[in-house]
């Protein structure tokens, strides 16, 4: 066998292996997706949105409590996390540039993005839950805010840096003070990018379970008081799925389906914003 033939054969073998592993990987992921969709659609019904949790065996049980609780916890996290993240990102891009302090904030944020979220839960337990004496929706929101912060900060930083400096200079030349230039010119130029960062940040924290386990805890009934333990879709999903009752497990799949669809649409929406921006 000549060298060339040998190389061609090796090439074929490796390419087949690579295509197979791609197929295997994608196959597994498709399998999970199919299970999620079939189980989710199967469990979905109107009562899921209108009824609260009930003991296993009751027909009229739903996820209203978890959906509303999730909305509260994630909304408050967004409410705190977005302004803080955007302002911190603004400092990095507009004021600090490549200074040492800015670089270390960037590095720490990058690391925080991949840090284990359950540890954030333990931290919030120590600073909020333990002093208060009980679990609360606030504690959950604070944990999610901490997780969201570095994501929003880094995308804002990146997106603001993409705004051409000529725009800033033109505004300065008109005599505008720096904060006005940033708020009225730079933010506008980076609108789509910042929005994408926010959507991805919200999508990321909406799927978090671990930091909520011992901060917002859970509640099988509707509660809108943030200073009390509060249900979330993810923790409810975990509790229902690990329960031995079939109807609870079914509700767990419905929650999984609703949550994934929500997160996927946020991700797709975020991508569309960025694509539209690039198209221009």
């Amino acid at each position: 066998m000549t060298q060339t033939k040998k190389r061609i054969i090796i090439n074929k073998i490796i390419m087949t292996l690579s295509a197979l592993s791609a197929l295997l990987g994608i196959g597994f992921l498709l399998w999970i997706l199919t299970i999620l969709v079939t189980n989710g659609l199967d469990a979905l019904s109107l009562t899921i949105f209108t009824e609260e949790g009930s003991p296993p065996g009751y027909e009229d049980s739903g996820l209203k409590h978890a959906l509303i609780g999730q909305l509260y916890i994630v909304s408050y996290a967004t409410f705190f996390g977005v302004p803080l993240g955007v302002l911190a990102g603004t400092y990095l891009s507009e004021y600090a540039g490549k200074s040492k302090i800015a670089e270390s904030v960037r590095d720490i944020s990058d690391i925080m993005m991949s840090a284990p979220s359950i540890v954030i839960g333990a931290f919030v337990y120590a600073i909020v839950v333990a002093p208060m004496g009980h679990f609360s929706g606030w504690a959950g929101s604070i944990a999610l805010t901490i997780i969201m912060l570095p994501i929003i900060l880094r995308t804002t930083d990146d997106m603001l840096q993409l705004v051409p400096s000529t725009l800033r200079e033109a505004a300065f030349a008109l005599g505008a003070p720096k904060y006005k230039v940033i708020v009225q010119v730079v933010y506008r130029g980076a609108k789509a990018g910042i929005l994408t960062g926010i959507l991805l940040g919200v999508a990321r924290v909406a799927g978090e379970t671990a930091p909520l386990l011992f901060t917002s805890f859970n509640d099988n009934f509707l509660n809108t008081d943030m200073s009390e333990p509060m249900a979330s879709l993810t923790v409810t999903m975990y509790n229902y799925a690990t329960s031995p009752y079939e109807d609870w497990q079914k509700l767990g799949w419905a929650a999984a389906f609703i949550l994934s669809m929500f997160i996927l649409s946020l991700n797709i929406l975020g991508r569309l914003f960025i694509m539209k921006k690039k198209g221009k």
Partner: protein, 285 residues
Amino acid sequence: MNNTLDKIFSNSTKLIAIGILLLVAWIFTTLFQNSMTSIQTFGFDFITETKWAPNLEKFGALPAIYGSVVSTFLAMILAVPLAIGVAIFLSELAPVKMKAPVGVSIELLAAIPSVIYGMWGLFYFVPIVRETVGGIGISMLTAGIVLSIMILPFMAAVTRDAMDTTPDILKESAYALGGTKWDVIKDIVIPYAKAGIIGSFILALGRAIGETMAVTFVMGNVHNISLDLTAPATSIPVTLANEFTEADSDIYYSSLFELSLLLLIISFTIISVAKFYFLRRGRMA
């Protein structure tokens, strides 16, 4: 007027940005302070002691550390070749029309919450493991496999990004010399993108070791060091998820906080290695 507003705006942005650094320092000190009781009681034995018995107030982290290391190691062995395969497929092999849709789907799968991978593992994968390799299905092996599938999309996406940074002109020159696809990948793409590829593997490792929900469902939370992969086990995050709300004594809480601190230090170290040695300001999210 404008001057004051300007000062207020710039100073508040600065305050918040520096606040991030303080926040991280606060997280470390809080976890450390809350671990004090455990550190003083057990000292270094905490890491080497194999017995975790809350009723006897005896806490040793070795089974959890062992479980974290072994399950992550299993996940890496399984996920790395698959991720390389998917990345080669996406960056070199797939027809142009397939690249974008398949690539985007993989990235979207990386966004699916890990709790869903855990649920899938519990209901669909545990029975398969039980029937094929025996045991009760809830085991170290199951956790490793579910973990590997969970990190696969992330790993494949970052590895592909790293491979895609190879300039086309380099690849084309190699093809012009008569190289096969594999020649080009092994002699051009991989050497060129080596740092990025290794970095993305280490980053995925950092994420896998702190992953809670994908493994909590299928690991069993049994504090036992067993060489039998089909036996139930535990890991640091699994212990935290299962026991934090059950802890009933100061020393129990303190031990759990020490576990959190250990986990944070381990993942901070791994992620920093990925970031500072391999991925200079690359894609982290």
